[in-house]
Symmetry: C3
């Protein structure tokens, strides 16, 4: 029997409770795939803040893009990463940990608030998987990104029941 | 007995069929090594589009460097990565999957065609290992790279028969 | 019985011999954690050249920051990474290999000496863990980093005795 408490701790249940419907998994922009599983690790490709292949929240952090807009951008990119994971795994309940989150942001040279912007992705992942599965993180400010996007996230997950 | 079909699906055979001779494994530019194996993962250091230690295809994407030249640059960098893997493994036939490819390109702020340029590396890897072993990918546009290179690639491979 | 030779090959002993006292593990700047362990891999978050949360060695490589200052910056960032690992593991003697080191530096577009600057981190890691545990490496020059820092390092370690 699955209790209410256990159901609430499920990533899929949390998604439903949050009213989040995952977007379709984004199509690759070139000769790569969205996800590769090795043992208990699930590698996901970098994902953009895009809807239907069109980047949203364009511009530079520290320039025309506010921190709040930047947070929305990294959150949307993380939703696209979750869509890749869901397509690969069938259910996000198989995720045992968010291992690593890499965030690259297009910024002015003076920008300093990378951490606040990257929290848009980190907070979504904590909402979905629970704070006890929080990842390590690496963030940097770059010159340009594919399709003129303002952010890209790359997520590494660990998953259950994988033999080597 | 090894059949023709099996030989054709071998990475080493494919290299020969493509007429590709791998370059010597590039020397490290500092206090690091070319490859580290952990369990079934083989980590390779970032490799440049260099020949004999000299970077080729200099310049910025979106500036003096065309997309075709950029593709040649990422292809050459990936050849150097394969040379590191070959030296470590003895044979590229031990590779079971290209897990992850990270590409950083020196670009103008306006450049958007990162995916086309990174395909120079991805297409080489697909030619050598077969499309069924295609990797995940993360691409960004950066300010500068070691030795003034225009591109760097970092390849993560999985390999067979490794106990933990 | 532990012989002198074995004690000398211990990372904790080496730290003591070098007169290095690790700083307190740096606090996360946002919704992430310092370290995540998966099987025999220990992922660490990106760490800055900071003391007590304040970045040191500010400026751009190729501009106001010399190569020697840059080396001090990546060394300090690597010390912060070791502090994260020590807190997670209890003892650095559990580290079996430095697998991968990623270094991002804030540079002018003309800067070419990334490898020399990244060696500040690599040489510290070799001093502590021994040259036989040297890592792979990936270095790039970026536009900006969190808190206006000039460098960030990300370290991936393998550790002993982990079942999967």
């Amino acid at each position: 029997m699955i209790t209410n408490t256990e159901r609430r701790s499920s990533a899929e249940q949390r998604l439903a409770d949050l009213g989040i419907t995952l977007p379709p998994a984004p199509s690759p922009l070139g000769a790569y795939v969205g996800a590769v599983q090795v043992g208990q690790l699930l590698y996901l490709s970098g994902t953009l803040p895009s809807e239907g292949g069109v980047p949203k929240f364009l511009g530079k952090l520290g320039g025309e893009l506010s921190i709040e807009e930047g947070k929305s951008a990294t959150r949307l990119a993380a939703l696209n990463a979750l869509a890749l994971a869901k397509r690969q795994l069938g259910s996000l309940d198989k995720v045992t940990r968010v291992v690593r989150l890499t965030v690259s942001l297009v910024t002015t040279p003076e920008f300093r608030d990378h951490a606040k912007v990257a929290d848009g992705a980190s907070e979504l992942l904590a909402d979905v998987f629970g704070p006890e599965k929080t990842s390590t993180r690496m963030v940097s400010g770059v010159t340009s990104l594919p399709l003129g996007a303002s952010a890209v996230v790359e997520v590494l997950l660990s998953i259950e029941g994988q033999s080597h």
